[in-house]
């Protein structure tokens, strides 16, 4: 569904993404791991056609980001980091705007909006203006806008960052529920999250792909099954006790 091939992105002299390739299929939940500034968000921004790569290509459902970015964007639901939203709008107005931008059929709009409002538990705040909402609710509105056109591909940049444990649980449950019919990429710092929801994990550091495998393959590298230790060993190339790479 998503084919990333030899992707590179330079900002001046800094190589934010350095020759990264991978594929993701429907039914997979790919966890994107890496230290801050590793190139996770940059890769996601390239897949969603916000940034242009310096080199390489991405194909989403067969459409190239270079040749047909509009078709790529139609296939994707994207939740950017920190969930930026038009805060002067109410939740329903905002979702209505996304429907108009995505050209969802007029008859289907009410059911699409109601559907995501229920899925993301926004019933009680739907007529409130977004600026009055708490962080957790803003995340859910951002999730709702990503799901409104029932996309085959979901890209979530740190979807649980800054949420309380209950909200994290809800988001993970929602991702699991969606994972059968969709192709999902999510980035995270929380390693337990990878084991909880992801079917596959990729670790990148300084723009390079350093690991690509299942979460259990990752934890097996540590004698005590400590994913944190494996992560440290891979991303810092230091010797960490009990880890054999």
């Amino acid at each position: 569904m998503i084919e990333v091939s030899n992707l590179s992105k330079n900002f001046g002299n800094i190589k934010a993404v350095d020759d990264v390739s991978f594929n993701v299929n429907i039914g997979e939940v790919l966890g994107f791991l890496g230290p801050n500034g590793a190139g996770k968000s940059t890769t996601m921004k390239i897949i969603t056609c916000f940034l242009k790569p310096s080199d390489g290509d991405v194909k989403v459902a067969g459409h190239s980001i270079h040749e047909d970015p509009i078709s790529v964007k139609r296939k994707i639901g994207y939740m950017p980091e920190n969930a930026p939203l038009y805060e002067d709008m109410t939740v329903v107005e905002f979702l209505q705007f996304v429907c108009e931008m995505r050209n969802i059929d007029l008859e289907r709009r009410p059911s699409s909006i109601d559907g995501v409002i229920t899925k993301c538990h926004l019933e009680n705040v739907k007529n409130q203006s977004i600026e009055t909402l708490s962080k957790g609710f803003k995340r859910r509105v951002s999730m709702a806008q990503a799901l409104i056109h029932d996309p085959e591909v979901l890209i979530l940049d740190e979807p649980t960052d800054g949420l309380d444990p209950n909200q994290k649980h809800d988001v993970r449950a929602l991702i699991k529920e969606l994972s059968n019919s969709k192709c999902i990429i999510l980035s995270t710092h929380i390693l337990e999250e990878v084991e909880a929801v992801c079917t596959r994990a990729i670790i990148i550091s300084s723009g390079k792909k350093l690991f690509d495998g299942t979460p259990s393959e990752l934890s097996e590298k540590s004698a005590d099954r400590k994913v944190d230790d494996v992560f440290r060993a891979i991303t810092t190339s230091l010797d960490v006790e009990g880890v054999t790479l």
Partner: protein, 248 residues
């Protein structure tokens, strides 16, 4: 004809002028200021001239627009960058030109609505005498074109930075340069440095000359070309800039 995404953006932007204080603050300040300067009690004032026309009204329009329009335009893209919504907006199935056009047209419609709010001044003149409605109509038309030109300049400088204050100051400075390009002090200074054809070329860039010539009730093709080129040129430059530099 117009793309559905452009329409959706126009609708959203227009609404936001009236759900935030910005729209009201702008309209109130504009209407109060233009009402005052039109009927100000001084030399050359409306009541001393005893002429049923709007020359004092149109004389001040450029000087109000030079501050008010950059203050409307400064948020267009700078705010999107600052809050990060630019990433949300441009990852929807929309192209950069469609998005730039949507925001530009919405701001232009908003200013047209504010101009419409000055109609009571026209009614006053019509009550007091027999004004030349053709000249008044052309004056409004020229004001709208002037607003569009300043707005296009403002859009460009809003796209350049995420700091709204920087965007405001740069737009005011550039609007001022374009407005005053034909003034004698500037032209005299230039004539000591450049050959004559360069100076007359610079004079042609003066917004004020084109605006005033339309305000006299004459439509010259060159004036229309000038405003058209200003608007298209700066809007196109904004599109290219945003396409090239979307992230910070």
């Amino acid at each position: 004809m117009m793309h559905h995404t452009t329409k959706a953006i126009i609708k959203r932007e227009l609404k936001s002028y009236f759900t935030t204080p910005l729209g009201y603050v702008f309209t109130v300040i504009f209407l109060f200021a233009i009402g005052y300067v039109t009927f100000e009690p001084g030399r050359g004032s409306f009541f001393v001239m005893r002429q049923a026309d709007l020359s004092s009204f149109f004389r001040y329009i450029p000087w109000l627009f030079i501050f008010l329009i950059p203050s409307t335009a400064m948020r267009l893209w700078a705010e999107e960058r600052k809050s990060g919504t630019i990433e949300f907006l441009l990852t929807l199935p929309v192209t950069v030109p469609q998005a730039v056009l949507g925001k530009f047209i919405a701001a232009w419609i908003f200013i047209a609505l504010a101009l419409l709010g000055t109609m009571p001044i026209v009614f006053t003149v019509a009550y007091l005498g027999k004004p030349d409605y053709g000249v008044i109509f052309l004056g409004y038309f020229a004001s709208l074109l002037l607003a569009g030109s300043f707005l296009a300049v403002g859009t460009f400088f809003s796209a350049i930075t995420k700091n709204q204050v920087v965007s405001f100051i740069l737009s005011v400075v550039f609007c001022y340069i374009f407005l005053m390009a034909g003034s004698p002090p500037i032209l005299e200074t230039l004539s000591t440095l450049f050959p004559k054809y360069m100076v007359s070329l610079f004079e042609e860039l003066s917004i004020l000359n084109h605006f005033e010539s339309m305000g006299r009730g004459v439509v010259r093709l060159s004036d229309l070309w000038f405003f058209g080129a200003m608007i298209v040129g700066w809007v196109y430059a904004s599109m290219s800039l945003l396409d090239y530099k979307k992230a910070n």
